[in-house]
C-alpha cells in the first residue's frame, strides 16, 4: 500500500496562515525579498566574473591572420634547392617573433600538389610538425631533418622517418609587384591536401582532422589551393 501523501498546501499565503498575508498573494514578501537580494547579488557577481573570464579567454576567439610579407625577387629562388628566408610570425617581440621559411620555385617534376596561383613558390616552415623544434634543410641529403627527435621530411615536406604525425606546414605564396610574397600558414595531410593551420603534434590523416579541429584564431585563406 502506497504511503499516504501529505495534503497539498494551498498556494495562497492567506490560507497558510502567514502573518500579514494579503488576499490572493502566492509568494510571501520574505521569500520575494530573499529572492530579489540573491538575484541582485548573482547579477553583480556575474557583472564582474564574466568580463574577467572573457578578458582571459578573448584571444582564443580572435583571428590574427597576418598579411603578406615580401621575401625576395622571383629569380632568387631555385627549383632544386631551398632558400631560407626569415619572416615575422608574431609582431612586436623582436627576434622571438621571427621564424625561418624555406622557399623554392615550384618544380613540376617534384611537386605533386596541383598547381595554383598560391603555390608557384613552395614555402615550407622550419617548424617541425612533431613538437615545434626547428628543422634544417640538408641539401646533401635533400631532406629536412629535425634535431630534437629525429623526424625526417623529403623535399616536399612529407615525413619519411621519425615521430612527426604529418608533413611540414606550408605558406601561401604569390607574386606581387614583381616580388615574391609569403602569406599565411596552412597545414597539409599526407596527400598534401590543404587544411587550416594546426599546431605541431596534431595528425591530419583519418580521424586526426576531426580530433584536432580548426581554431578560430587561424584559418586557411578561402579560395586558395
Amino acid at each position: 500500500m502506497a504511503p499516504a501523501r501529505r495534503p497539498k498546501k494551498s498556494q495562497y499565503t492567506l490560507d497558510r496562515g502567514m502573518p500579514g498575508a494579503f488576499e490572493g498573494e502566492t509568494v510571501s514578501r520574505r521569500r520575494f525579498m530573499t529572492g530579489t537580494v540573491h538575484g541582485a547579488g548573482m547579477l553583480m557577481t556575474a557583472g564582474m566574473v564574466i568580463p574577467a573570464v572573457g578578458f582571459a579567454l578573448g584571444p582564443v576567439f580572435k583571428n590574427v591572420t597576418l598579411g603578406w610579407q615580401t621575401v625576395g625577387t622571383p629569380d632568387m629562388f631555385p627549383e632544386d634547392n631551398y632558400l631560407p628566408v626569415v619572416i615575422t610570425i608574431a609582431p612586436g617581440i623582436g627576434e622571438a617573433g621571427k621564424s625561418t621559411v624555406y622557399v623554392r620555385k615550384r618544380n613540376p617534376k617534384v611537386d605533386t600538389q596541383p598547381a595554383s596561383a598560391s603555390n608557384q613558390w613552395v614555402a615550407i616552415t622550419s617548424r617541425c610538425s612533431h613538437l615545434g623544434c626547428s628543422v634544417l634543410w640538408v641539401q646533401a641529403a635533400e631532406h629536412f631533418i629535425c634535431p630534437c627527435h629525429g623526424s625526417v621530411f623529403d623535399v616536399e615536406g612529407v615525413r619519411t622517418a621519425g615521430p612527426a604525425p604529418r608533413p611540414l606546414d606550408r605558406f601561401y605564396t604569390r607574386l606581387h609587384d614583381g616580388f615574391v610574397q609569403v602569406g599565411p600558414r596552412y597545414s597539409v595531410n599526407t596527400e598534401l591536401r590543404a587544411f587550416s593551420p594546426r599546431d605541431p603534434g596534431e595528425p591530419l590523416d583519418g580521424i586526426g582532422q576531426y580530433a584536432y579541429p580548426s581554431r578560430p584564431t587561424v584559418r586557411k585563406l578561402p579560395g586558395h589551393v
Binding site: 584571444p59 590574427v64 610570425i89 612586436g92 617581440i93 623582436g94 622571438a96 580530433a211 581554431r215
Partner: protein, 281 residues
C-alpha cells in the same frame, strides 16, 4: 579498594595536553616577605605587559584555543621523520613565495628582450641577486621532489584511505598546481631553453584531442607565441597559482588537524587501556 572512587565528570571534547615548559622558565620560589604575584624586576614588568597584550588579543579573537588545537595534537605511536615531508614541502613553498616576491621587484615580463635583460641584471648586478634567484630556481626542484616523496609516503603508509580521501584529492590538486607552477616559471628567464621548452610544452598540451588546440591558444593568448604569452605565464605563475596553492594548503592542513595522522602500517592497533578504576570495578 572496596568501592571505586566517583569518576570526575568528563569535559566535552578531548582534553588538550599542556605545552611543555622548559625548566628555566618555571617559576622560582619567592624571597621572604614578597607579595605573591607582584612583579619585582624590569623583566617581570616586561613579561607582564606582554601577557596583557596577548590576553587583550586573545580575549577578542579566541585564537589561543585554535593555536593549541593546531600545534599540540596527539600523534600516533611510531610517528617518525617521514611525517615531516609534508611540512618540508610547505616550507619549500614558503621559500619560493618569499624569494619570488623579491625577484618580482626586478623582473620585467617583456618578450622583446627586456625579460632576459632583467634576469641577467638580477644574476649579475643586484646585490645577492644570483643567490636569491638560485634559491628560487633550486627551491623549485626541491619542492617538486618533496611533493613526490610526501605523496609516496602517504601512498605506502595507506594514509589516503577513509576518512582521508578528500585530503588525497586536495594533495593531487596541489601536485598538479605545482607542475603548472614549474611549467610557467620555466619560461620566465626567457632564454633559448625557456623559449623552446615552452614551445614544445604548449604543443604537447595541444595533442590532447578536441580540447587540446583550444587549450594551446588559451595558453599562448593566440595562435603563435606572441607578446602576451610571457605576461600570461607570469600572471599565472605569480598571481593565480600562489593564491590557489596557499588556499589549498590551508584546506590540506585543516583536514590533517581535524583527522589526525595515521600510524605507520607496521604499528599494530592496541586495545584501549582501561580508565583508572575500571579494572577493579
Amino acid at each position: 579498594m572496596s568501592e571505586a572512587p566517583p569518576r570526575p565528570r568528563r569535559r566535552r571534547g578531548p582534553r588538550l595536553p599542556k605545552p611543555p615548559v622548559p625548566p628555566a622558565f618555571l617559576p622560582r620560589p619567592l624571597p621572604p616577605g614578597t607579595q605573591r604575584g607582584a612583579p619585582r624586576t624590569a623583566l617581570d614588568h616586561a613579561a607582564e605587559s606582554g601577557k596583557v597584550v596577548v590576553d587583550w588579543i586573545d580575549e577578542r579573537t579566541q585564537l589561543s584555543g585554535v593555536t593549541r588545537w593546531v600545534m599540540f595534537r596527539k600523534v600516533p605511536r611510531g610517528t617518525n621523520w617521514f611525517y615531516t615531508l609534508g611540512s618540508a614541502t610547505m616550507f619549500a613553498f614558503l621559500a619560493q613565495a618569499v624569494t619570488g616576491v623579491f625577484l618580482a621587484m626586478y623582473y620585467r615580463p617583456d618578450a622583446s628582450g627586456g625579460a632576459y635583460e632583467s634576469v641577467r641584471y638580477i644574476s649579475t648586478s643586484v646585490f645577492l641577486g644570483n643567490f636569491v634567484r638560485g634559491m628560487h630556481k633550486w627551491g623549485a626542484t626541491v619542492m617538486v621532489v618533496l611533493v613526490f616523496l610526501h605523496m609516496a609516503r602517504t601512498f605506502v603508509w595507506g594514509a589516503y584511505k577513509y576518512p582521508r580521501e578528500l585530503n588525497w584529492v586536495i594533495g593531487v590538486t596541489l601536485l598538479i598546481l605545482t607542475m603548472i607552477m614549474g611549467f610557467t616559471g620555466y619560461l620566465l628567464p626567457f632564454d633559448e631553453r625557456s623559449y623552446w621548452a615552452t614551445i614544445v610544452g604548449v604543443n604537447i598540451n595541444g595533442t590532447g584531442p578536441v580540447i587540446g588546440p583550444y587549450l594551446s591558444d588559451f595558453l599562448r593568448g593566440g595562435p603563435e607565441f606572441n607578446a602576451t604569452t610571457l605576461s600570461r605565464f607570469y600572471a599565472i605563475h605569480m598571481l593565480i597559482l600562489p593564491g590557489a596553492i596557499a588556499g589549498l594548503i590551508l584546506a590540506h592542513l585543516y583536514l590533517v588537524t581535524k583527522l589526525g595522522t595515521t600510524a605507520p602500517p607496521w604499528v599494530k592497533a592496541t586495545p584501549e587501556e582501561p580508565a583508572l578504576g575500571e579494572e577493579t570495578a
